[in-house]
Point group: C2
């Protein structure tokens, strides 16, 4: 079957292309009998109006660009699901852009966003530097940045849907101090540097307020193939901190395995917590504590915020910063030095 074009419809209805276009775009300058003839031709031929041509005629593409780092696909899948579901409700087309080391320069991504004249952009944090953000702002495309809090208050047409990682880390350290624990480590995560900085600021703030200095940042160089290899070496002759904080699940599991295999006992010698939750944390033994971040909701809220920004909804003229609540996910309890087994399950 040949693809039916607007030309075929015009021929069939014996009208001009412009007339067909006007009918498709619900213009009211077309005479009723002509409109009917065009409609009949459309139905007879089974013509599907071209969304792109339609967009042009209405000078509105209803297209949103989502920009995401390739490295973080698997970790952002729930946020993406939330974004996509709301985009579907509003009938947006989604253009997908990925950034990756080596193959796609950020300039090219910006260029392609601007050239395709999208209506709005969703960015994951850690993708754009200040200079690149400025370029996008100049073009006045509404943007929502999802994930971490922006260091500066967003100006122009920029929204931010975020988890306050600085506050999370600050509260976590204060609770640990209350439990008598002040020997704390934060393990570097090179994939999420802006989150890392925010966690570190929160920890340092809590230490300072208690007149202490935080010295527990563990960075490791790229010569190590994995956190596990590094930590296995590290814990060979060093006791883990009483509390070890990691950002991602796989790093927390690496701490768990390396410490266990070096003979250290969970909840007696050390405990480990992952900021991001994942089902795999429930599958290691003992299971690992974490935080539940409502990631699907973050995506859905970010897309909804963008929708409001696109129509200049007054409710988002002033406030385009939305903080998302999190809650702790306790899988292994600490009771005054004693390990208490809690029920856990491996979700599959």
């Amino acid at each position: 079957m040949k693809r039916i074009t607007i030309y075929d419809v015009a021929k069939e209805a014996d009208v001009s292309l412009a007339t067909v276009s006007r009918v498709i775009n619900d213009s009211n300058v077309v005479r009723e009998d002509t409109r009917q003839r065009v409609q009949e031709a459309i139905e007879k031929l089974g013509y599907k109006p071209n969304a792109i041509a339609q967009g042009l005629a209405l000078s509105k593409t209803t297209t949103i660009s989502i920009v995401m780092s390739e490295n973080l696909f698997a970790y952002n899948s729930r946020i993406l699901n939330g974004l996509m579901d709301v985009a579907k409700i509003y009938n947006y087309n989604i253009m997908f852009h990925t950034t990756s080391k080596g193959i796609s320069r950020m300039q090219d991504v910006i260029e392609s966003i601007i050239k395709s004249r999208v209506d709005g952009v969703i960015l994951f944090n850690d993708n754009f530097n200040d200079e690149e953000m400025e370029v996008l702002k100049e073009y006045q495309i509404p943007m929502v940045i999802v994930g971490a809090r922006l260091d500066r208050k967003p100006e122009g047409k920029v929204g931010n849907v975020y988890v306050n990682f600085e506050k999370l880390a600050y509260d976590l350290v204060n609770e640990s101090f209350d439990r008598g624990i002040d020997d704390i480590t934060l393990v570097e995560d090179k994939l999420n540097l802006s989150m890392m900085n925010q966690l570190r600021r929160g920890i340092e703030k809590a230490y300072e307020e208690h007149g202490k200095e935080f010295k527990g940042y563990i960075g490791y160089d790229d010569s190590y193939k994995s956190s596990y290899n590094f930590l296995t070496d590290y814990y060979k002759d060093k006791k883990p901190s009483r509390l070890v904080i990691t950002f991602r699940d796989s790093q927390a599991i690496a701490v768990r395995n390396a410490a266990n295999e070096a003979g250290w006992k969970s909840m007696e010698d050390y405990e480990v917590i992952s900021i991001l939750d994942s089902k795999y944390l429930a599958m290691v033994r003992p299971p690992i504590n974490s935080y539940i971040l409502p990631e699907y909701d973050m995506g859905a809220i970010a897309m909804r915020l963008l929708t409001k920004m696109l129509v200049n909804d007054p409710s988002v003229q002033e406030d385009r910063e939305i903080e998302i609540e999190y809650s702790p996910m306790i899988r292994e309890k600490d009771k005054t030095g004693e390990t208490e087994k809690v029920t856990f399950e491996a979700v599959s």
Copy 2:
């Protein structure tokens, strides 16, 4: 800064919109001095040609739709990386569509693909039924289906980049027979039913050729919140099969945990293998064997195949089925009934 449009350029150069459009689209019917005046206006104003208008003029959008199930996003991230990297090389725009139970009917996705007049489509298997595939085929849009092998040889403009899961399962069972193991279980995976069917066919074929009947398919109903809960009940009074096959990593880990906790010994009482590999399989103790499927390559090859189909490359006129090789990933060895510890590492 106001967004510069083609109207501004036309005004600045004192020419018609059509002339600006012709210059942008490299038409040679424009006089050289006019062309220069338009180019100067474009540079002066910093105008970015609208990719959509450009596409229309060239009757070529260079846009590819990728259709993927929301549930499987995290599992397909490496395939997606391969797709995106090759798409970038060819400067394609990527439209992203997701399917999900309840919220997006497949008809709507098809409708939106057809309306946006994309040049080609990448589908993940398990997304479309035969009837829906027929609809897409009628519109003659080149399509590549990635993941599992199509049950029927692709006709029309359809390509297929796949892992032969039937052969994989057939070989695995034959090797197990050679090791004296014929007590084998396949655990149901409702998210990947077409892969399930292919694995099952391969297993049944191997059994039949040995004059045996395969009875080891474990299905479980949705009332169980997770494979782990189901399997914990299941292994309470039943010994696991000597070889348990699962499709996804989390199911294999659920088998490992449920069997271990019921007191069964890995490699003595049972062994478990996951068809899909993941880093988490290296992180459980003992680590779990799997298959390395070159997923990034699958994505890259699928997009490259589509590229060739788009230009009617003669090399893909006949053969649009590409089988991808896999290799076993042995993390725990079985040596005549004796467990041999091998070196393993947790990648992070």
